[in-house]
């Protein structure tokens, strides 16, 4: 680990000043400390933001607001969230471990960095870690990598489960910089690698995530998350699906579907949603819609299995949420 100075801030103004001076925010530290130990991250100054007041969860008729310093375990266990936004609780509880969920913050979760083994190994070529150095994953061990949204420069999947659920529910990331607050729709928050894989999100340097908001809707209660992985628990997704359905009068009125584990960013599936809306719930509807889940996929040498896997993951989750 490289040496660094450490400070604590107790006001937003002090945090933003430290951030403007290249201070690196730390919340739970489960991404940052890990990557600092691998020397992938080398901040000269680490700023502990845990004393800031972003720790509330509020559920109103307009929707849900979650402070960025709320812990994964706290949001998952919130009684109203479990009933009104089950897809969030499930995505959280199917991620990491009980210990890590007690540590990890919601803001840090959407800022977590790729789990690509070459990104984590400073002796490998990686455009995300070291722009222009190449990508050892593409022609290497690429079984876990993305089949959607990749570029020649990077094929790493986005690791967050929560982010998949947030993208399905049209969440908004509330941030604050020295110029004041702004709101970033979560779909615009995560950036595909393109020519600049090192740019993972649209947060400006020094900006602080203050909260996440999720708009209410008829679909949020009938929602859930399915995660398929190499072992049953404590593992990242090979494929996952967040599904929320509004079914009334025997017809699908609204549908939100996003997938994880297969794409470079949390991946919304508008065509699958279009194929659901206006249809009768049932096996045929689910199968036909899920068939569109992997549209545009470009598999690598070892991950072609993800094409069928993601279709089946979406289909099974549509059956679970929508009924057979």
């Amino acid at each position: 680990m490289h040496p660094f100075a450490f400070s604590r801030v107790s006001t937003t103004a002090a945090a933003l000043n430290a951030g403007a001076g290249n201070g690196r925010y730390i919340a739970g530290g489960t991404t940052l400390v890990d990557l600092m130990r691998e020397t992938v991250e080398r901040p000269a100054h680490v700023v502990d933001i845990n004393a800031l007041p972003y720790k509330d969860i509020t559920v109103t008729r307009q929707g849900l607001r979650v402070g960025s310093l709320v812990r994964m375990s706290e949001l998952a266990a919130h009684p109203e969230v479990r009933v009104t936004y089950p897809v969030l609780s499930q995505a959280l509880e199917l991620g990491a471990s009980a210990q890590l969920r007690n540590m990890a913050s919601i803001g840090g979760n959407i800022m977590q960095r790729p789990r690509c083994p070459y990104f984590r190994d400073v002796h490998s070529a990686c455009n995300r870690r070291d722009p222009g150095s190449g990508c050892d994953a593409r022609g290497g061990d690429n079984r876990m990598q993305a089949i959607l949204g990749a570029s020649t420069h990077c094929v790493a999947t986005h690791p967050s489960d929560l982010a998949v659920a947030l993208v399905a529910l049209d969440a908004v990331v509330e941030v604050r910089g020295l110029d004041g607050p702004r709101s970033i729709p979560v779909q615009d928050f995560f950036l595909r690698p393109g020519d600049t894989p090192q740019k993972e999100h649209s947060l400006r340097s020094g900006e602080l995530i203050t909260s996440l908001t999720v708009p209410a809707g008829a679909h949020t209660r009938r929602s859930g998350y399915l995660k398929v992985r190499d072992r049953q628990s404590y593992e990242f997704a090979l494929a996952s699906a967040a599904v929320a359905l509004d079914i009334r009068g025997g017809v699908v009125r609204g549908a939100r579907v996003a997938v994880g584990g297969v794409a470079t960013v949390p991946w919304r599936l508008p065509k699958v949603e279009e194929a659901l809306v206006g249809r009768r719930p049932g096996r045929r509807t689910w199968t036909e819609a899920a068939a569109l889940a992997a549209e545009g996929a470009v598999p690598l040498s070892e991950n072609a299995f993800k094409v069928k896997l993601v279709e089946r993951t979406v289909r099974r989750q549509l059956m679970t949420i929508g009924g057979q």
Binding site: F4, S7, V46, S97, A98, Q99, Q232, S233
Partner: protein
């Protein structure tokens, strides 16, 4: 290899701390005294004093900011019961309770444990005379270990799992204990020990 790597930095840190603590008192940085940005911090800025409660006792230590809570416990506070498996959050051997919640001490900076209330395996039987915590006894009764390396982490995690109420079935225990790996594969008996202790609690 993370462990080899960390041994090296631990050694460097030890000589470094020994050399620099003699020089001056080291103020804890606060927001009104921020170090210069971007460049490598001065040696004094790389150190902090941390005060915390461990197993009911007030402890203070001067640490390099890079020190994890795990290394603080093992190397500075003479509490080697908490184990280092992966040093990456991936095995649970380092599990302790911080303010009664289970966490991985390898991914916590010691400086961030300022004012924290930490319980380690050494503190579990505290206040019970010489008696073991019921879960420790249950691990013995059910043979919940082989080599024993993962055991302190399993026990600490199990204590929290029971307190959280995630013990409704063996499957539920397995899911909520999945953050603790056991290379000897003692899982079946670990689950039995937790199941029995939860029933008797």
């Amino acid at each position: 290899m993370p462990e080899t790597f960390d041994e090296a930095t631990t050694l460097k840190r030890r000589t470094f701390v020994a050399a620099s603590t003699a020089v001056a008192g080291l103020p804890l940085l606060t927001s009104d005294r921020l170090p210069a940005s971007a460049s490598t911090p001065t040696p004094a800025d790389q150190l902090s004093t941390v005060r915390l409660t461990v197993n009911g006792e007030q402890r203070t230590a001067q640490v390099d900011n890079r020190t994890s809570l795990l290394d603080l416990l093992r190397e500075h506070l003479d509490l080697p019961g908490t184990k280092k498996g992966c040093d990456q959050g991936a095995c649970g051997a380092c599990t302790v309770l911080v303010d009664d919640r289970r966490v991985n001490s390898c991914l916590i900076l010691a400086v961030m444990a300022q004012d924290a209330n930490v319980t380690t395996i050494e503190g579990l039987a505290r206040g019970r005379g010489e008696q073991l915590h019921p879960l420790q006894q249950a691990f013995i009764d059910h043979d919940g270990l082989q080599c024993g390396y993962c055991t302190p982490g399993q026990v600490m995690s199990g204590v929290a799992c029971i307190a959280e109420g995630h013990t409704g079935s063996r499957a539920e225990i397995r899911e909520w204990m999945s953050g603790n790996l056991c290379r000897c594969g003692a899982y079946t008996n670990i689950v039995s020990a937790i199941e029995q202790t939860a029933k008797e609690a």
